[in-house]
Subunit: 348 residues, 2 copies
DNA sequence: ACGTAAATTTAAAACGTTTTGAAGTGGAGG
DNA sequence: CCTCCACTTCAAAACGTTTTAAATTTACGT
C-alpha cells in the first residue's frame, strides 16, 4: 500500500505538500499538483482511512441499524434500500456498516456501535411515532438522517415521501371517476407512513362530505394474505354495502385484494377499482399484474442518493445544515381503475 | 473521552504501563494493575479503536458482499445469516461492513472495498463452482471464510453442511419405509449445495440398484410455484409411473409439492411421502404445515457463530490455521412420510 | 555490602494522515 | 543592493494506541 511518504520521497516533496496537493488545497503549485497526482495514480495510492480518522476525527463510515421483525415483512424494502444506499454512499467514498438489532431495546445496538467510536453518523429507517432512537442520537449530538419523517418532530435531515399527498392523489382520482364508497387497506398502525396516509385519507374524504366506516379502513401487515382476508370481508357485503374502490398501501396488499375480488366473482375494474401505492420493488411489479395496476408511484430507490447526501452534508457541515427532501408520488393510471359501476355512486 | 495518557497522569505512570495493565500483559505488577483498572473504570475509559487499528494494522471490521439476484430468491436466507453474523461478530468485537454487489462482475465490489484498506477479511456466502471471488481473495492473501465449501477446492476456512449426508439420510429413511420410486426437487444448478445433493442422491440410489429418470430429478429456483409445477409434472403420470416419495431441497419447494399433491387428489403421506431439507427460517416453519413436514434439519443460524470465529481466527493466527466445520443434518420425522403405498414398491 | 538476575517500568518509535507555524523561493519596487 | 510580499514548500506536532529496547527497581545469594 502506497503512502504519502512514498509519493513524497519519489518526488522529493514533503508529505505535507503531497497531502495538500491531493486534497485540492489552493496554495499548492499547479505543476506540483499534477506531478503528485500522476505519481499517486501510478502507485495506486489510497488514503488510509484509519489514519485519516485518527487525526480528523472522522471515519468515513456510517451505520445503519436494521430492526428485524419476526414477521420479516420489511425484508424486501430493506434490501432495496440497502442496495441503493451502499451505492450512493460509495459515490461519496463512505462505507456502510450494518448492524442488526435483535433486542427489544432499539437503542442497544446504537449504543454498542457508538462505544466503539467508529462511525460518523447513522441512517435511520422506518421511524415510529416518538421514536426513541431519534431522541437518543439527538441527545448525544450524533449526526443522522432519517428515511421518513415524524410529524411534529422534523428538526433533522430526512427524505420522506408526501404520504398525505399519496392519499389525496389517490382519493381525488377515484372521486373524479365517480367513486364515493372508497375503502383503504392501510399498513400497520404506529408506522408513520400508515398514520399519515390514514389522516390524509380521512381528511380528503371528510372535505367531500364522505364518511368511511371503520370496517372499510383497515391496518394490516403488508402480506398478501392479510390483504385478501380484509378485502373479502369488505366485499362480502357483511359489513355494509361493498366499496366500489379500494386503495391499498402497498402492491402486496393489492394482490391480495385482487384475488379476493376474483374469488367473489367481481371484475376489476368494472365492478371494483383498485389503486395501490408502489415503491417500485424489482420483485413486485405492479405492471405485470393482470389487470395492470393503477398506482401512485414513488420508487424506494429514489430515496437513497438524497439520503446519503443529506447525512454526509450534515456530518461535514455540522448542525447548522438541515437538508430535507419531500418527494411527491406520481400517479400512474393503468387498467385496474374505471368509472364507478352504475347504481353504486351513493356514499356509505 | 478518557485516554491512556489521562489514566497515566493520574497515577504517575507511563502510557505503556497503562496499556499493558489493561491488556493483561504478564509483566505488570498486580498492585499496579488493580490501580490502573480502578481508575480506568472510574473515568469510563474506552480504547480508541481507530488508534488501536492504526498501530496494529487491523481494523476490527470484516466485509460481506451480497449479490442481489433479480429473483430475490435468497432474501430470507440472507437476512437470517446477516442477523446471526453481526451478533456473532459483535461477540468478538468485530463489526460487519456490508456491500451490495449490483454489477455482473462479482469481483468489483471486493476490489472497491479493498482499495480502502479498511477491512480485515471477508465472509463469502453461496459459493459457486469455480467461484472467482475465492481465487481473487486468495491471490491477494486476504483472509476469508466461506459459508459452504467447493468440492475439490477446500483449502480455506469454512462452515458447510454435509450435503452428501443430507441426501443420504433422506434416501435411507425413505428406503427403510419401502420406497423405491424416489424423486428429487433440487435447487438450481451451479450452486454447490444442489450439485452435492444431486451427486449424493444419485450415488445412494445407484448403490441400491435404483435408477432415477431425468424427469424425476429437477433443478428449480426455490420458489413455491416452481415446486408446484415440477411436482404436478411428476405426479401426473405423464413422465412415467408416479414417485411414491419426493425429496425437496427446501421447505418452499415442499409447500409447492404438497399443493400439487392436493390438487391431484393424492394424500400426504398415505399416497405420497414428502421430505424436505429445512434451514429453519423463522418465517417458513416446516412444523406448521399440514401435515407437519418430515425434514432433515440444519438451522442456518447455526452457521453464524462458527463462521465468525473461523474468520477471526484466521485473521489473528495467519494462514497456518485453517478452521473448518462440517455440520450434519438432523432427521426430524413428522407426519408427511409413511410406508410405501401397497402395489407401488417396484422401482422405475 | 555487593553483584546479578528477575521483575517492573519507562521513553521513544511507530502507524499514516492533517494541520500549524515557519521558512524558503523569486520577483517587483525602491 | 536591499526590502517587502506573494507564492510555495517544509519540518514538526498532533491524534491515541502498541511495541521495542532500554532503564530502573527489587530480590536474592554470597
Amino acid at each position: 500500500m502506497a503512502t504519502l511518504k512514498d509519493i513524497g520521497e519519489e518526488l522529493g516533496l514533503s508529505t505535507a505538500t503531497v497531502s495538500r496537493a491531493l486534497n485540492d488545497f489552493p496554495e499548492v503549485n499547479a505543476a506540483t499538483r499534477t506531478r503528485v497526482v500522476e505519481v499517486a495514480t501510478r502507485l495506486g495510492y489510497r488514503p488510509n482511512r484509519i489514519a485519516q480518522r485518527l487525526v480528523t476525527g472522522r471515519s468515513g463510515m456510517v451505520g445503519m441499524i436494521v430492526k428485524v421483525n419476526p414477521d420479516m415483512s420489511t425484508d424486501r424494502n430493506f434490501l432495496e434500500t440497502l442496495t441503493g444506499l451502499t451505492a450512493a454512499l460509495a459515490q461519496r467514498d463512505v462505507e456502510l456498516v450494518l448492524s442488526v438489532d435483535q433486542h427489544d431495546n432499539p437503542i442497544a445496538a446504537y449504543q454498542r456501535i457508538l462505544e466503539r467510536g467508529i462511525l460518523d453518523g447513522f441512517i435511520l429507517n422506518a421511524p415510529q411515532l416518538n421514536d426513541p432512537r431519534i431522541e437518543f442520537l439527538r441527545q448525544r449530538g450524533i449526526p443522522f438522517a432519517v428515511h421518513g419523517v415524524i410529524p411534529g418532530d422534523t428538526d433533522y435531515p430526512y427524505y420522506a415521501v408526501n404520504n398525505h399527498g399519496i392519499a389525496k392523489v389517490s382519493v381525488d382520482f377515484l372521486l373524479s371517476l365517480g367513486h364515493r364508497r372508497i375503502a383503504y387497506l392501510n399498513g400497520e398502525r404506529g408506522h408513520v407512513y400508515s398514520e399519515e396516509r390514514a389522516a390524509g385519507f380521512a381528511k380528503v374524504m371528510q372535505a367531500e362530505g364522505l364518511g368511511v366506516p371503520d370496517a372499510f379502513h383497515t391496518f394490516l401487515e403488508p402480506v398478501e394474505n392479510e390483504g385478501y382476508l380484509s378485502a373479502i370481508n369488505m366485499l362480502s357485503g357483511r359489513a355494509g354495502p361493498r366499496p366500489t374502490a379500494i386503495i391499498c398501501s402497498s402492491v402486496v396488499l393489492a394482490v391480495g385484494a385482487m384475488r379476493a375480488a376474483k374469488d367473489l366473482g367481481l371484475n376489476v375494474p368494472s365492478d371494483l377499482s383498485i389503486i395501490a401505492h408502489d415503491d417500485d420493488l424489482p420483485d413486485m411489479r405492479s405492471d405485470t399484474l393482470v389487470p395492470q395496476l393503477t398506482v401512485t408511484m414513488s420508487p424506494l430507490r429514489d430515496a437513497c442518493v438524497p439520503l446519503a447526501n443529506h447525512l454526509i452534508d450534515r456530518i461535514t457541515s455540522g448542525p447548522t445544515v438541515v437538508p430535507q427532501t419531500v418527494a411527491e408520488a406520481r400517479l400512474v393510471v393503468r387498467a385496474s381503475t374505471a368509472t364507478v359501476p352504475l347504481g353504486h355512486s351513493d356514499p356509505w
